[in-house]
């Protein structure tokens, strides 16, 4: 048990403006690395990766004047802990009409932690097509990797303890319409 437990409501580490700036920087880094938005496809990992992917796409389109295809990639059936929990509801997978063959796919997720979600996403991607390259953008990297996976674009590196929980709230998905990243004491074991 943690020696000094945090308050359950947690400590905000990124507010809405921090998140906005991080996404703007990630958008520029994606463009720099790929020398434009030519073959890009952004795939968000539901749930919170999807609105993040859309926000990055809209930032890219204001900079480059190109519409980047955005989709979502559900990884539920590819999880390595599928058998450890009751059957989960599936989340939407939407591959943009142009497909992903020969494209540069940027996977977008909110928090990079063990790396297992991304491993599952790479497997899922394999069944959808063959991209020329796959890159990973995350809003928060909290460390504690269990697999040899790293992110190409990181909004914020957030050193955490395993007894903490990183909570990402996005206006598009929350009732209060507020963007925030906070660290909370882990009350019980969650994913």
């Amino acid at each position: 048990m943690p020696a000094a437990p945090l308050a359950p409501e947690g400590r905000t580490v990124l507010d809405a403006r921090d998140i906005g700036r991080a996404l703007t920087r990630i958008s520029h880094e994606i463009l720099e690395r790929n020398k434009g938005a030519g073959d890009l496809v952004l795939l968000g990992i539901p749930r919170r990766g999807v609105p993040l992917a859309h926000r990055i796409a809209s930032r890219i389109s204001t900079v480059e004047d190109v519409e980047v295809p955005v989709g979502s990639l559900d990884i539920t059936m590819y999880r390595d802990d599928l058998r450890l929990k009751p059957a989960r509801a599936l989340l939407p997978t939407e591959i943009p009409p142009g497909g992903i063959d020969g494209k540069v796919v940027v996977l977008v997720d909110d928090v990079l932690f063990s790396g297992r979600t991304i491993r599952a996403a790479l497997d899922a991607l394999n069944d959808v097509g063959r991209p020329r390259a796959v890159q990973l953008a995350v809003l928060v990297d909290r460390g504690h990797r269990e697999l040899p996976i790293r992110a190409d674009f990181v909004g914020k590196n957030l050193p955490t303890s395993l007894s903490e929980r990183v909570s990402v709230r996005l206006a598009d998905l929350e009732e209060d319409g507020i963007d925030a990243v906070s660290i909370e004491a882990k009350l019980e074991v969650t994913e």
Binding site: L82, P86, L90, V128
Partner: protein
């Protein structure tokens, strides 16, 4: 969800909606280059069919294979059952082989229930049609088809929609499962047929009944036609097939009285010219072929929800 799917009545509204939502996600798999998901890798699904069936068995087989399960097909014809083996001994054999799910079709009403609750097998049991009792996955695929056409874009889903189920209700496990499930989903169901083909005790099903097709169909959002199951009939339930068609068949003239958005369904196999005419079956309103496509997605959803997660959670 419970561990078995024996009756449409086992499903709460939340369960049923979870199946429909899962099926909606799985349906898009048909458009992908690799029509396979790894969810049931290493699991074994046995199709145990004591009665003839083409579409249901193929549909379950395709569903299990697309989820990467191993499938064993067991047809009673040509097996030890034709030598006199009992359901119990067949079940023990399957258990010894390590089946994770048994999909059973049987001519006797209640056979799946017996299999699930006898302690003979530990696997999940899915009823794929038992006698004149139930056929819950058919009801789910019908509900899914209705939902795609009449409920998806609508607040409350299928709540308050009206469906007529027409024909041989007495012998139809499809009608019984549909009546139960559609009621759970808030649909107003009317069963239409000649008095001889409405079952005793139908008033306790909680649905409307009518003998007059022409009075019912202009008001409904979907018409589900049923086959007259002559193989289950001994004696005269109606004077002649021709008279049956005239009063309870769906032809072009009756179709013209439907509302513009009303769809026509049939669980198959159809007898063209008897309960439905060819021009209706092949018309734009007919979603009969789509029902078959949806059947695979719905059965994938059922198998995934029954077998995809951990076993410990399944409380009965």
């Amino acid at each position: 969800m419970k561990r078995h799917l024996l009756s449409a009545a086992d499903l709460t509204r939340d369960d049923a909606e979870l199946v429909l939502e899962t099926a909606a996600e799985l349906r898009s798999l048909a458009d992908r280059p690799i029509k396979k998901l790894p969810a049931l890798r290493g699991r074994t699904v046995v199709n145990l069919f004591f009665e003839d069936s083409t579409r249901t068995r193929i549909s379950f087989e395709a569903a299990a294979k697309r989820l990467s399960a191993d499938v064993i097909n067991f047809a009673a014809k040509g097996s030890s059952v034709s030598k006199g083996e009992s359901l119990k001994d067949t079940a023990l054999t399957l258990e010894a082989m390590g089946a994770d799910a048994v999909v059973i079709r049987h001519g006797a009403s209640g056979a799946p229930h017996r299999l699930a609750n006898s302690g003979w097998v530990r696997s999940s049991v899915v009823n794929a049609g038992d006698g004149t009792h139930e056929h819950p996955t058919q009801a789910l695929l019908d509900a899914f088809t209705l939902w795609r056409h009449l409920g998806e874009e609508r607040k409350g889903g299928l709540e308050g929609r009206r469906v007529a189920i027409v024909g041989d209700i007495l012998h139809s496990r499809v009608a019984r499962s549909n009546a139960l499930l559609l009621k759970t989903l808030g649909v107003d169901v009317t069963l239409v047929g000649p008095p001889t083909l409405l079952p005793v005790g139908v008033e306790s099903w909680g649905v409307e009944t009518s003998y007059d097709l022409d009075a019912v169909i202009p008001k409904v959002d979907a018409v589900m036609m049923l086959r007259v199951q002559r193989e289950r009939m001994q004696g005269g339930f109606f004077p002649t097939p021709r008279e049956y068609s005239r009063r309870y068949g769906l032809d072009g003239r009756r179709m013209a009285t439907l509302q513009d958005h009303t769809i026509v369904m049939h669980p198959g196999p159809m007898v063209r010219g008897m309960e439905i005419t060819a021009d209706v079956a092949d018309s734009d309103r007919s979603v009969i072929v789509e029902q078959v496509t949806n059947g695979v997605a719905v059965r994938m959803a059922v198998l995934y929800l029954l077998l995809g997660g951990s076993e410990s959670e399944s409380t009965e």
